[in-house]
Structure formats: structure tokens, C-alpha cells
Amino acid sequence: MNPVLLDAPPIPAPPASPPAAPAAPRAAASRRAGTAVGFAWLRSSLEATAFLRGVAGETWRAPGPVRSFEEFEQAVAAALAALSVAGGDAFVLLEQAELRHRTESAPGSGKAARSYLAARVARQEEDGGALLWSAQPTATSRPDASFILHLLPAAFHERLARCLAARGLRLTRVFPLAAPLALELADESRPRLLAVETDGATTVVVAAGDRLVLARTLEACWTSEAVRVGLEINRSLLYAKQQLGTAVHEVRLLGAAPAVAETRVRCGEGREIVAGRPRPADWLERIAALSPRHPGNLIAPLLQREARQAYLRAALASLGWILTVLFAGILRSENQSAQAEHGHFALLQREAAALRAARDALLAQDRQESQDRTLLRAATGARIPAVPRLTLAGTAAVLPPEIRLTDFRVERDAKTAAWTFRLSGTIEADEDTARTLVAGLQDKMARDPLRAHFAEAERALAVLPPAAGSGSPGLIGFTLGGTLP
């Protein structure tokens, strides 16, 4: 059983440790140049490969076991020195005791399944702290979707990232060993089992083409527990047959050549048992081809969250600066207005006396204007129409020659401004003719332009006695009165 890295005591640094002084500008330059370093940290073995724009370069293998983070940090420094890499992106292919694998069935698919898995992980976190996780869908005979959950303590990742950051490396991908193994099995469509021994543990992956059936890590190895491992491989084969509905005919054992015979005895019936050596460099190459956003990347959600946070921070900072600039512009404009206003105030103060004099002159002029208007209005309003002249002229125009006026009176009532008139005269005719003449005069005066309104009470017609000794016939006297418009 390997020691748990998070709890492992620090071990002394090897004497040949390179200086741990990363040059940040060089790291940035390396990132810009597309340099990346992949580390395959499989239990106590560590292998590193440099990649330049995705093309694998040199590979370096740690000469001794790498079990703790201190050893890992020193090994990373040695690897960088050996590979002549100053910094850049880093990815890690991981197989450690802390990295756990669970098979989970999830109802539904897509988001629902992912939410379900997240809830399952959350329950795990209640017991053991924050976890980073990724899920690989597996082929299953059951109606529910099935996944292999890879769970990595967040604290492990933080230490890993810190170790790499100390060497100018930015961790972008962490994949479980099962990921490249599944990719390797996807090269052929027939069902195959791949078992890799890594320092006391055995990682078993079964897949048919791109249909992953299982991925598990046994805390046992051929050399010490061959019987148990054989038994577990046999169980894995039976499980795969159950899920796929067909038998697995090829078993590939990597790093366990001596166990081929044992495996053939236990589960080799009708199967091809092949031995080989682990190829971490090949696996790293497969991982190098994967995007950091690949769902198998254990830190993909973390990177996305960091990217979102960085975007949000940049947006907030931009918004803050935009607001600041706008506000500064407004303040500048207000300040200019205030200065202009200040200048205006100074001008007003200088010309206060002149302004007061102008105000007084204008007020006097305004009073004069007002008086002028009032006077003109009063003169116009007080003008008395020439009613007497018009009435006199109008009456003269319509007066028959038989009628002789003796009294003509037009008056204006001062209170009501109403005009009244009164006519008296004589007619040298008989009474009927006189009556007709007076009626005719009345009729004409009632029309335009006089439009006189006669009062019946004032109308009188009387026969006047003839003057003594005149010898003429009697006269008819009349009186008319009324109002004028």
C-alpha cells in the first residue's frame, strides 16, 4: 500500500536538486511559444515529456521513486532542467491513492445526470472535503446511464498546482490514468481489457471501441497478490460480458509480463493474453492532444470557473474604469460650467452699478409705457360717439317737407350711457295725413342708420288751435320719443 501523499511527511531533498527559482517572464514566453510539459505521475514513478506546439519532444524519467509532493517538486525541477523547459503549461496524468474511482448510475441523461452526479459528489465532500471530479460514461445493460466517477481531493490538486507554479508551470489538465487507456482501447472496436501495474496497484480498463465498460484501480499487484489480481481480472471480464453482451477476447497486461501464465490459467480460456510495458510517454501524447475543456479533465470545471471569474473581474474592472472616465468627464464639464459661472458672477459684480441703473431706467420706461397704454385705452374707451350729430343729420334726411320740427333733443344718460331722443313739431295737414306722415317718419327712423326705438308712451298727436287772425287751417302737433342704439 502506498503512503497517502497528502499525509506523507516531507523527505529530504536530493542533493542534485536544481534551484527552484522560476522566471515568470520566461514562463510567459514559453506559454506564448506553445511549450507544455506533461507529467505521468503513476504512484511512485514519474515521467515527463516536453511538448512544443503539441509535438512531443524529449522524455525524462525520474531516477528514483516519487512518493511525496516534496519529491515531486524536486523531480519537476530536475525534469525541467533536463528537458530545458523554463515554464509554460503543464498537464498531469495521475494515478495515486487519493484519486478514487466509483461507478455510479444516474437517472436521465445530460444535465439531469450531471446534476445527480454533482449531488453524489457533494455528499462525498461532506465526509472528506472538497473534491474535483470528472465522469466518463460507460456502456451498460441497465436502463439508467452509468458513469465512472474520478474523484480527486481539491487539496491534492492545490498542492500539485502550487508545486508546478513554483517552477513557472501553469497546470491546465489533470487526467486519471483510465483516460488515456480508454483512448488506447478506442483504437479498435472489439472488446479488450487493459491492465496496467503501477507500483503496487493495478489499473484495469475494459472497452469496446469508444464504449467504455469499466475502469478501476486495484490496490494489489501481480508480484505480491497474483491470485487476487487474477480473480479481479476474471470478475472484470465477467462484468464486461454482462454489460456488452459479448465476451472480451483480448487481455493486455502492461508491466506484468510474469503474470501472463497466471492470468492465462485463471481467465485465458479462448482469450489472447498479451504482455507489454507501460508507455507513459504515449499516454502523455494522447493527453496532450486533448483540450483543457475535455470532460475527462478533472480541473476543467475549475478552469472554467477561473475563466468566468477572470472574465467577470475584467468586465467589472472595465465597467469601473468606463464609469470613472464618464464621471470624470461629467465632472470636467461641470467644473468648466462652474468656472464660466464664476466668471459670470465676477462680471455681474463689476457691472452691478450699471445693471441697477439699467434696471431703474427700464422700470421707468416700463412705467411710462404702462401709463401710455392706460392713457390710450382710457382715451379710446372714453370717446363718446357722435350720436347727436348723426341723429340730427339722419332725422333731417328723412324728414318730410310737411313736417316742421320745433324741438329736437338727444341726451346721453351718464350712468347708463344710454341715448334718448325726443322730437316735437307741427304738421300742416289733416289729422289722417299727419298720422300717416308721423308713421312714415317713425318707420324711416327705425331703419338704418338711425335704428331708433320709439317709446309708445311718448308718442302724441294733437290738433293745435289755429292762431288767432291767421286764417290758416289748424296744425297737427306731434311728439315722438325713444332710445337710440
Binding site: F345, E369, A378, A396
Partner: protein, 211 residues
């Protein structure tokens, strides 16, 4: 209230979290928060200057100069008002003032030319005493009533037409005389006797430029 710490924690995390470094020191966290805090600090500083310095200064200056501003506004309003006034009103009013007697005592001098005018028309005019008419308080014009008796002169062969002419002269608008009573009597021999009551205006105001 439970949301508050969470919100604060999220804000704090957004401001100060250093990626992959949960154990970052306060100095490093402050450095991380600087790009966000700087514009905020700048905004706070600008706001403080605006509301703490600039605005009070402007308000104080406005308050101190408010009487002058009011004066300027008043002058502008008066100028605008006077620009809208009819320019010929002033001339008409001046002409009217020149034509009208300044007070009641000047009325006889107004009547004197009419006496001559009547003679020219063949009439003899005799004006009676001047009597004040009721006037409105503050009115620029006052009126007085004058009774007049008109008799045709001996050589007047056309008393009727000459009377109409005289009445026309007296009632003309530019004469500014209101005839409010006209009584004409003719005796058996055809002699006319005319009585008129004339309302004469005179100035009751004191012009502004006199004040």
C-alpha cells in the same frame, strides 16, 4: 439575513481570490483586488470631490450672487417686455398728452378756439361754467362738463346746414370732445336756439418722467 454573509463571501472571493492559491497572503490578495478597487477608489475620490468640494462651492457662490442674478433676470425680463411694446403707442400717448390740458384750469383755453370756430360757422357760442364729472380713482383722464348755448349770427342764411357743420367739427375724433346733450329749438319765426353739453377730457395723471 443568511444571504448576506454568502453575498459578502462571494464578493470577497471575486475581489481577492488568486487562482490556484487559496492560501495567498493578504498582500497578494490586495494586489489581486487592485484592478477592481482602483476604479472604485477613483470613483469614490471623484464623488467626494464633487459632493464635498465642488457642489458646496458652487452653491455658496450662487447664494452669494443671487441678488445680482435676480437683478440680471429682472433687467432681461424688462428688456424683453419693452421690446414687445408697440413703439407708436408712445408717440400717440405723447401727442395726446400734448393736446390735452394738464388740469381742469386749462379747459377754458380749450374752449376758446371753439368759440372762434362757431363764429366762423355763423354761430355765436357762449360757454357756461365748467363742472367736474365723477372720475375713477387712478384713471389717467378726468372729464368736465361744460354747457354751451349757440345762436345763429344775424348774417347766417343757412343755420341748419351750418349747425350740422359745427356739430361735425365738435364731434370729430381729433377734437376729443364728447357731445352728450343736444337740444335744438325753433321758434315760430324759424330762429334756432341750440344748447349743448360738452364733455371735455383733461389729464389727471402725473407723467412718470415728472416723478
Amino acid at each position: 439575513m443568511n444571504a448576506s454573509p454568502s453575498w459578502l463571501a462571494r464578493t470577497w472571493s471575486l475581489l481577492t481570490d488568486v487562482p490556484r492559491r487559496p492560501d495567498a497572503s493578504v498582500a497578494v490578495r490586495c494586489g489581486q483586488a487592485l484592478p477592481l478597487l482602483l476604479p472604485v477608489l477613483a470613483l469614490v475620490a471623484l464623488s467626494g470631490w464633487k459632493w464635498g468640494v465642488q457642489d458646496p462651492r458652487v452653491r455658496a457662490a450662487r447664494a452669494a450672487n443671487q441678488p445680482l442674478l435676480n437683478l440680471e433676470t429682472e433687467v432681461a425680463a424688462l428688456q424683453s417686455h419693452l421690446l414687445q411694446a408697440e413703439p407708436q403707442d408712445s408717440a400717440r400717448a405723447a401727442a395726446l398728452r400734448a393736446a390735452l390740458p394738464r388740469d381742469r384750469a386749462g379747459l377754458p383755453s380749450v374752449l376758446a378756439p371753439w368759440r372762434d370756430q362757431a363764429i366762423a360757422r355763423g354761430w355765436e357760442a357762449v360757454f357756461g361754467p365748467v363742472a367736474d364729472l365723477p372720475r375713477e380713482s387712478g384713471a389717467p383722464l378726468a372729464f368736465a362738463a361744460v354747457g354751451g348755448t349757440f345762436r345763429p349770427l344775424s348774417g347766417n342764411l343757412h343755420p341748419w346746414s351750418s349747425l350740422l357743420g359745427l356739430l361735425g367739427d365738435i364731434s370729430a375724433p381729433n377734437a376729443r370732445i364728447g357731445v352728450t346733450r343736444l337740444v335744438i329749438r325753433a321758434d315760430e319765426q324759424g330762429r334756432y336756439s341750440v344748447e349743448m353739453r360738452l364733455d371735455l377730457p383733461y389729464l389727471a395723471e402725473t407723467p412718470a418722467y415728472v416723478k
